[in-house]
Symmetry: C2
Subunit: 202 residues, 2 copies
C-alpha cells in the first residue's frame, strides 16, 4: 500500500507549533502565517492542511503549552516546616513568571482576548486559577494542622501569588527584559516564603 490517508508528518507539526510560539512571541498576534511558515521551514499550505485556520493553530499552541507551563507546580509532600514548602512553591511560581516562552503565550492571549474570549478564559482557568486553587488547598491543610493561621485561603493564595509575580509580570507583558538570575530567584523565593509565613503564622 502507498502512504496511508491522514498520515501527516508529526515532526513538521511540532516544528510549526514551535515556530508559531517564537514568531507570535516576537511579533504578537499580528504575525502572519507566512512568517510562521518561513520560520518552521514549511509551506504556508501545510499549516492550513494541518490546522485549518489561524485560530485553530493558536488554540493548538495554547493547549500544548498550558500543560507544560503549570506542570512543575505540584505541591510537594507537606514538609514539617511550612516555610520549606512555601519556598519551593514560590520558587516554581517565580520561575514560571520569568519564563519568556510562557509569557509570550500570555501576551498573545491578552492580545487575542477581544477576538477569542473563550481562549482567554481557558488560559486563565488552566493557569492562574488552578495555581491559586492549589495554593489555597495547601494553606487550608496547613491551617487545619495548626501550622498556619489562614482565615481565607483563596485570598491568601492571591496574596502569595501576587508577591511572587510582582511587577515581573508587568515587565514581561510589556516585552521588557526580565532578568532571571537563578540565585536571585532563589533568594526572592525565600524572602516571599519568610514574609508570607510571618503574615499568616498561628
Amino acid at each position: 500500500m502507498p502512504r496511508v490517508v491522514g498520515q501527516i508528518d508529526q515532526a513538521k507539526s511540532e516544528a510549526i507549533l514551535d515556530a508559531a510560539s517564537d514568531v507570535l512571541g516576537e511579533r504578537g498576534l499580528g504575525a502572519s502565517i507566512e512568517a510562521i511558515a518561513r520560520r518552521a521551514a514549511v509551506s504556508k499550505q501545510t499549516i492550513y492542511n494541518q490546522f485549518g485556520c489561524k485560530t485553530a493553530l493558536i488554540e493548538a499552541l495554547v493547549a500544548r503549552r498550558v500543560s507544560h507551563i503549570t506542570a512543575p507546580l505540584r505541591v510537594p509532600g507537606a514538609a514539617e516546616q511550612p516555610i520549606e514548602t512555601l519556598t519551593a512553591l514560590a520558587q516554581t511560581l517565580i520561575e514560571i513568571v520569568s519564563n519568556v516562552r510562557a509569557y509570550s503565550l500570555i501576551r498573545v492571549t491578552v492580545q487575542g482576548a477581544g477576538a477569542m474570549p473563550e481562549l482567554a478564559k481557558a488560559v486563565f482557568e488552566a493557569g492562574p486559577a488552578t495555581t491559586r486553587a492549589l495554593i489555597a488547598d495547601y494553606l487550608a491543610a496547613e491551617t487545619e494542622a495548626g501550622r498556619m493561621a489562614v482565615d481565607d485561603p483563596m485570598e491568601a493564595a492571591e496574596f502569595f501569588a501576587g508577591m511572587c509575580s510582582g511587577h515581573r509580570q508587568f515587565r514581561a507583558l510589556m516585552g521588557m527584559e526580565v532578568k532571571a538570575d537563578p540565585e536571585q530567584i532563589a533568594h526572592l523565593a525565600q524572602t516571599v516564603a519568610k514574609r508570607f509565613f510571618r503574615a499568616y503564622a498561628p
Copy 2:
C-alpha cells in the same frame, strides 16, 4: 482678522481622545481610525490633521491617561499607625487595578509593546515603577521612624503592590469582568494592610 492659523477645536481633540480610549479598549490596537472617528462624531481627516498618525494619537492618549491614573496615589501624611496609611495606599492601588478605563490602556500598551517598545517603557515608568518607588520611600521612612522593620524597601513595595493587584490584573488583562464592589475593595485593602504590616512589623 479671520480664523487664526492653528486654531484647532480643543473640544474635538478631547472627544477624539475619549473615543480612542473607548474603541481601543473594546477592539484593541487593531481598532481602525475610522471607527474612532465615527465614535467621536468626527471625520477621519480631522484626526490626521490633529495627530498626524495612529502612533502619535496613541502616544497622546497614553500621555493624557497615565497622569490621571497614578494621580490619586499620593502618600498621605504618615499617620500615627502605619496600618491606616497602608490601608489607604492599598485601597487606591486596588481601585486603580479595578479601573476598566485604566486597564484598557494597559491592554493597548501590551498589544503595542512589539511595535512601540518606547511607549511600553514609558507607561511602565510612569505607572508601576513610580508607584513602587513611592511605596518604597514610605516604607523606608517608617522603618527609619522605628514603626516598621523593612530591610529591602523596593522588594517590600513589590510585595505590597503584588498583593493588591493579585489576579485581578490577570482578569483585567484577559478582558474578563472584574467585580469592583466598593465594600469588597475596602475590606481587601484592610486585609492587605493588616497582613503586610504583620509581615514587616518591628
